[in-house]
């Protein structure tokens, strides 16, 4: 029988991989994808706790997190398109107009 620890460790590894991706990659779209990876890792934790504790709240929360992820992807990609139209690049080192 698989204990909850195993699911939590897999989720932690996925989350840390997402963190490495966000810190290392410079392409704005890939950074968005790494954020999706981190959200997914958190969803795995929620579902694991929900199934092991017999409580439905975790799965409802996963539902809401997926809604937020879809909204975030739509708005974020629209921002990326607008940036690409203005600067011809999605490299976040070149996007520094808000830097003081």
């Amino acid at each position: 029988m698989i204990e909850i620890n195993y699911y939590l460790i897999v989720s932690a590894i996925l989350f840390c991989t997402g963190v490495i991706g966000v810190l290392v990659r410079r392409n704005a779209i890939v950074i968005f994808m790494c954020i999706e990876l981190m959200l997914n890792a958190i969803n795995l934790t929620f579902v694991a706790f929900s199934s092991f504790m017999g409580n439905v709240n975790g799965q409802i929360f996963v539902f809401i997190v997926m809604t937020v992820a879809a909204a975030e992807a739509a708005v974020g990609l629209a921002i990326v398109i607008a940036l690409f139209r203005n600067k011809e690049s999605v490299n976040i080192d070149e996007i520094n107009i808000l830097k003081w």
Partner: protein
């Protein structure tokens, strides 16, 4: 630990999930990254099925792999991006710092998991099968959680309007 089907499935799915995540952050081309991310979502949806959350697993395939990743692939192909240059450099100060920070974060998380949950929650709850069905989740969503549900629909409406306004041709 005995080697029943659940254990074998869990370990193969976990290895595939971690492997595809690592492949995703190391590929130079954004398209390849997106395809590995789709593979990762697929394996995680298999893990949801192992956790007896059938509805969430299906929603993962429909919403994440079907909708969100198509949006990502569409934008990548629309922008016609080049490969990233930074991944060609071997070891930079920034990369080493990022990996060390993430390993530190992982140590912190596994410390918490080990001392917080070892020995607890060894078996899945008896109610797990009942909870995962679309029927149970739907009845919960429309009774106890109707307010967050409506808020989520408002959020989606705001996101649609925001995306159209931001991606419009003229940026006023």
């Amino acid at each position: 630990m005995k080697f029943d089907l659940e254990t074998v499935l869990f370990f193969s799915l976990a290895v595939m999930a971690i492997g595809s995540a690592i492949m995703m952050i190391t590929r130079k081309s954004p398209i390849t990254s997106a395809l590995y991310l789709i593979l990762n979502f697929f394996t995680v949806s298999g893990l949801y099925l192992l956790l007896k959350a059938q509805f969430i697993a299906i929603i993962q395939v429909l919403v994440y792999m079907g909708a969100i990743m198509v949006l990502f692939l569409f934008v990548i192909m629309l922008l016609n991006l080049q490969d990233e240059k930074i991944l060609k450099e071997k070891f930079t100060y920034r990369k080493i710092t990022a990996v060390l920070l993430s390993i530190f974060l992982f140590c912190l998380l596994s410390f918490t998991i080990y001392f917080g949950f070892s020995g607890k929650f060894t078996a899945m709850s008896d109610k797990a099968v009942e909870i995962g069905t679309a029927e149970f989740l739907g009845s919960e969503l429309f009774t106890n959680f109707s307010f967050p549900f409506e808020l989520a629909s408002f959020l989606l409406l705001a996101a649609i309007v925001g995306a159209v306004v931001l991606a419009k041709k003229k940026f006023e």
